[in-house]
Symmetry: C2
Subunit: 397 residues, 2 copies
């Protein structure tokens, strides 16, 4: 099961200095075959791990991040300025309890956070790939991650979990490698993007591409298309929040007490968006944003592709959505549930009350912790009676 690809891993770094590790693989002269038909390699994936893999290698959980996330999910090792995007959920005694589980957070190919993406050097030209980078799918991202899991010597994952695009990856793991995934926790996600979700992503892309500084993707010698990327991110931030959470956070409060009667930011919400947009361009590659949003739009596990008929059912599911999430509305999670129930899969669904909109998967810690802790405990108990072959159209023993 372990991949035959050549593996390189940088030396284990000092704790508290640099905790993100990088795994590089290639299989010369062939590379990873992508869904688009092109090949990509060598491939580097950034990842972090928290906790210890037990002797039976039965306690490994793969955590997957959203569009602009990275491998740094938590501050378990300490010492960094950045606590990590899911720090409240991962650590000793937390929802993903690192006293009990070995948690891996993997970055994605196509990204810009230490993994191979459009900003990486193309070995054939020794220049950044830019738009020569092949267009990817979520399945391609998962296939790359599979080599990382092989490299870590893990045959079966206790669980794959993630929110938003991380949830898509979790679903794709269950679909692509059902015999290697004991449980999945897709949160605030969907089997496929609706036209409204595609539309928001398309406007985001158009905003980046409208900036002349984008230069058809070849901006690496000149700097980011800052203005277009900032606007793109501002659009994103509106969709991550709910009407109600914006009201609670900003209402109509003015920045300077009175209307400017010019084009300055009058309202606090405008200042917030401008700040978020300006900050984002410092930390995320514009081309990666284009590639990743395309992969999300292409993703489609509806119509029986999540649990293909005749394939063994190995994976139990905990599906979570949030009431005020209008970007990934609850009906999309219910579509996942319907798909699974039709195949008699062991599935639990919870729609959590929250006013935080799509951001809820990052900030609603308490209820998610309770649900996930219990779900993982039950999964671990049943793990040893699991043979990795699955049970056709039945429950778990």
């Amino acid at each position: 099961m372990v991949s035959k690809f050549i593996k390189k891993e940088q030396a284990q770094p000092e704790a508290g200095v640099e905790i993100t590790r990088h795994f590089t693989f290639a299989y010369p002269p062939y590379e990873l075959l992508l869904e688009c038909g092109e090949k990509l390699g060598p491939i580097t994936l950034a990842y972090e791990t928290y906790g210890r893999l037990n002797a039976e290698k039965s306690n490994a959980i793969l955590v997957l991040h959203a569009l602009s996330g990275d491998a740094h999910a938590a501050d378990v090792h300490g010492g960094g300025d950045d606590p990590g995007w899911w720090n409240e959920m991962i650590g000793p005694g937390k929802g993903f309890d690192t006293n009990e589980y070995f948690v891996i957070c993997s970055n994605i190919i196509g990204g810009c956070k230490g993994s191979t993406g459009p900003a990486s050097l193309n070995p054939k030209t020794d220049r950044p790939y830019a738009l020569d980078f092949p267009f990817l799918t979520i399945a391609d991202m998962v296939n790359a991650q599979r080599h990382l899991i092989d490299h870590l010597g893990i045959e079966r994952l206790l669980c794959v979990a993630g929110g938003s695009m991380g949830g898509m990856q979790a679903l794709q793991w269950a679909a692509s490698y059902p015999e290697r995934v004991r449980a999945a926790i897709p949160i605030a996600t969907a089997l496929k993007h609706s036209p409204q979700q595609i539309a928001f992503n398309e406007v985001v892309r158009q905003s980046i591409m409208a900036d002349p500084a984008w230069r058809e993707g070849n901006y690496y010698d000149f700097g980011q298309p800052e203005k277009g990327l900032a606007v793109a991110r501002m659009i994103g931030h509106i969709t991550f929040m709910s009407d109600q959470s914006m009201e609670e956070k900003f209402s109509r409060r003015l920045k300077n007490g009175a209307f400017s009667f010019n084009l300055d930011a009058d309202f606090e919400v405008e200042g917030y968006l401008r700040y978020r947009g300006a900050n984002f361009v410092k930390r995320f590659d514009a081309n990666s944003y284009l590639y990743i949003t395309k992969a999300m739009d292409y993703f489609n596990l509806s119509g029986g592709k999540l649990i293909p008929t005749g394939k063994p059912i190995n994976t139990r599911f905990l599906v979570i959505s949030f009431q005020s999430d209008w970007l990934y509305p609850s009906y999309q999670s219910q579509d996942i549930v319907r798909e699974l129930k039709g195949k008699q899969v062991d599935i639990t669904y919870c729609e959590l009350k929250s006013t935080y909109g799509h951001d809820a998967f990052l900030v609603e810690v308490e209820e998610q912790t309770e649900l996930i802790r219990h779900f993982l405990g039950v999964t671990l108990k049943g793990y040893h009676s699991w043979n990795g072959q699955g049970i056709k159209y039945g429950g778990f023993g």
Copy 2:
């Protein structure tokens, strides 16, 4: 009551050739005093009229348009290529029945459809105003329209009506000139923008201003900031539709049968947005978009400003919202109702079922026709017993 401003009106044009008329007024050496403290003049307003004003001048209805609308509301006169933005609602036998009523549709100052706006020549420089144009409020727009109504010799309007920003103008008419407005029909609108609505407008503005072709507003010698304006409009179009109406119109249908694996428009919804964006730049001035969205964000008649305490209540209301409108959600119409009910105003509220989102006020003809026809009929019947002084905290006789 009729304004002392100097009035100019172009000669009545041939029917079927050019039906939009233009009214220009000024009051030298003073101009219209705006809320920002600046003065503006001379001012031209584009408007159209349909039907005939009766001898008592008691059948005049002022119809007001949304953000990107214009004075051409209907094709009653015939002969044009463009039927008008509310053609299904205005005409003989229609909701606003031109056999019975004299319908006026007025454009706004700040716009670019024949009225004075940032693209107009600044008489002091003989160059387009650009950002020297003063920033306006909805109340300023209504104050300018008041001079048009004076010019037409109408002392009391039977009704003011409009959707979206047209609804804001209708509410502002009732607030600014209660003794001149017998009835108001605000549709799919709000007493004030929520932070989410401000946020969408701010991203729209940022998108325009991010385009170097915007040139700090001084693009009139060079052409529009096409790319930024197109992206701005694409954002708008997403908010005008509902998740469900997008699903019904586009679902995930592909333009060319297969994924492109490049940055082309893969999905029909992407093609639609690109088309809408590209078309918009041909017909709307980018600076006007900035000015008008600011005016919408500034608008705020909440907290007792709609019907100021102690002022006579002259106006009866029909408030309409649409279930799937998430840009101007029904709770905002209900806020209007609450405000009015607290002052014992004669008010009818209807939330109409529709999947069309915010666009519903333009396309849901049947139910709106029925509601409006009945409301206008009752209003007209009671008109002659109305003395224009209103009744303090009471119903209508």
